[in-house]
Point group: C2
Chain length 431, copies 2
């Protein structure tokens, strides 16, 4: 190579509160390494690579790059474009390599979930076959916390801290107004894994505290048991606060929203539309005959930088840094993982007499791509309607500390935006 | 009176983030006055008075009372029980007076909206007719900000700060993922007044910033105009972030959710159920043919103490204090109001070269009961789809500062709860 090799950073899939914190770690570490030329960013993830829609992120102001650490969502842009097998998406994979070659890109840092790790792994293989020197490193990112080979995923702790706090706060609202608004259902994300729903269970510190019932996709959902659960809590407390993961499934593994049966039909016999919480509300109003309210945080839960976990922000940044450090040591085809209580102590916190140590490790991209981590049985209570102490112990250290954000004269947070001055294209148009 | 007169505090209607801050101001001011015997609290507002379901709040631990200032929702309990006219609810009104007499209560502090001010006013008249010495003071409380005679209502600034921040954050999520999730609709509270929706407009600091469209009940809603608005923003930015107040109305003043017409029918011809955002989502997916997501904060917006306005917490506390101070001076039948830039400076803040001064005033309970303050025309843009600079100038000072909360070893906020040791009943059962 005549000039220093360049690097590219891309963000993929649903944004999180801290995916930008990881990007910040990557960019700052790469820039100070002295071994990398320019650090490019792909606009809207892999779509930007395919379209050769890039910008020189190392040319952005240092203050902008620093502010990235405390800006939610994906500042470079993300996408849901999915590359399939090397055979099915051959043209796409070749194009990725062509773009890398055209811009002297020899380091590929990709933050995402298992589909993204799969893409990075395949790009890596293709480069090896073509004899093109390329190092591909994955950075874990998902609010769902469902990646295997890592203790937890950056993004999860912040959504966990936020939804648990939301359950506490809205729980107090229901507690105050239970004589009319007797039931509240908080719907949270998690189509396949119940980690986010599970996190709210930490807010339940005593019998009075919300949430009283927590339903996760890992525990088969039954309408009969649900109605019994609700009645049991009502009898005891006169109110009920319920958390439901959006992807609840019945004993056959089908989404309960798809076939709610007679339970969720309204008085005209129509099946209620909307999400799982709307359906549970209909069931409660029909079968238990109390008023139910629905809070659906939607994308607000994965972008709540105003109450993010400081531990999460720091660990996300560390993952970005370590991806670069490892890449520069010649490590290739791996995703950075978070490891609890092993190796040198990079982050250390004392709380409640316990100590939490988190460092990083490495996992094969292809292993992560094929893995999935659900909430284990021992984290869910026997009745399938709440979490256990083991889950609380797992979660507690992850949500320590509150990330500081800058507030301006409007009394609102300040987030950065890249200028995104387009890099001059060198290849013909592709898509 | 042989012993010092007692006071009673009650909380009414939908809770807010800071109604407890007002209660804290009342209780602490009453206890240190030396002129009041015991301070009682009604459990669940006027329902607790009717049921003689009271507790001695002045007997709670001082630390519990102090923590009330930073605990969301209504710690004494609230209700939606509505007393009608003196004739229609004669038995109820007489019962209120009987309970007050039985417990030597001569001060009634009632935090609520205009219905509560109406109740307080009527209790006051009944006492006067009966020759019973009673001072009734109202403390403004409503997230809706629709009370007349006060510059703004405690509770509103905190919900405003929170929803504006939520619009900023989820707006960044939409900005990152617009290639698939092109539209997000944030539904906020406000059945009759659009103050909460209007608040999110402050987050729109430049063309890129969410929200791009803000719909308030004060501006007649038209489906045709709505679809045009959405298309116009899409053409310009490639994405659109919409805020909708839950009580949008058409040109005839009917709720748009009640008669969405052909626009909101799904492919089976069913009218979509759910809130206004679900309906707008259906309209967008059918007419604009892009994917739309719905975030519905529900009761989380009115209980978000984790990001409350410090100005709001302090002003709410001040309202409670001033209710007691005025009552002890013999003022009766009034609600404490917040006055901007008049009178002695009790709160002062500098920001952006401007200065905000807020003190308190007094309004007749009966005037407040009959009034309603909507978002004025000059705060809404000509197209009826966003706010004006005047609205931003009104709002900005109210959301300055962030209330500090205590975080425990779990990494979650700590809120107080009263012991609520029941006061011994002296009267026969009523309801």
């Amino acid at each position: 190579m005549t000039s220093k090799p360049n690097a590219i950073v891309a963000q993929s899939g649903g944004p999180t509160t801290v995916i930008n914190s990881s990007a910040c770690g990557i960019i700052q570490q790469a820039m100070k390494s002295g071994k990398i030329g320019r650090v490019f960013a792909a606009v809207n993830g892999i779509l930007g690579v395919l379209k050769e829609d890039l910008f020189d992120v190392s040319a952005e102001k240092p203050a902008t790059i620093a502010a990235l650490k405390r800006t939610p969502a994906a500042a470079m842009g993300s996408c849901r474009y999915k590359l399939k097998s090397l055979e099915q998406s051959k043209a796409d994979f070749n194009r990725v390599l062509d773009v890398f070659k055209a811009h002297n890109i020899h380091y590929f840092f990709y933050a995402g979930g298992n589909d993204s790790m799969d893409t990075a792994d395949k790009v890596n293989k293709l480069a090896a076959d073509a004899g093109y020197e390329l190092i591909c490193m994955g950075i874990p990112k998902t609010v769902d916390n469902d990646l295997a080979y890592t203790d937890h995923c950056p993004g999860y702790p912040s959504v966990a801290k936020y939804v648990a706090t939301c359950a506490m706060e809205a729980g107090r609202d229901t507690e105050a107004l239970y004589t009319t608004d007797t039931c509240t259902i908080l719907e949270v994300m998690g189509r396949n894994a119940g980690w986010i729903a599970a996190a709210t269970g930490l807010a339940h510190r005593c019998e009075e505290d919300a949430p009283h019932l927590v339903y996760m996709p890992e525990a088969a959902f039954s309408f009969e048991k649900f109605v019994n659960d609700v009645n049991e809590v009502l009898k005891r407390l006169g109110r009920v606060f319920i958390v439901a993961g959006e992807g609840l499934k019945d004993e056959k593994g089908g989404y309960v929203t798809a076939d709610a049966g007679a339970f969720a039909k309204d008085s005209f016999g129509h099946v209620q539309l909307g999400g799982v919480a709307d359906m549970l509300k209909a069931v409660i109003e029909k079968e238990v005959k109390i008023k139910a309210r629905v809070n659906k945080l939607g994308t607000n839960q994965r972008s709540a930088m105003h109450f993010a976990s400081l531990t999460d922000v720091n660990e996300a940044y560390m993952c970005g840094q370590m991806a670069v450090k490892n890449a520069l040591k010649g490590v290739n085809g791996k995703m950075v993982t978070l490891v609890r209580e092993k190796g040198p102590i990079l982050l250390r916190q004392g709380f409640g007499g316990q100590e939490y140590k988190c460092t990083t490790g490495l996992a094969e991209l292809r292993d992560v791509a094929n893995g999935e981590k659900k909430v284990p049985k021992e984290y869910i209570n026997d009745r399938g309607n709440h979490i256990t102490k083991a889950m609380k112990d797992y979660l507690r250290p992850l949500i320590q500390g509150e990330a500081r954000i800058t507030i301006d004269k409007d009394g609102l947070p300040v987030f950065m935006r890249f200028r995104k001055k387009p890099l001059k294209k060198k290849l013909p148009e592709y898509m």
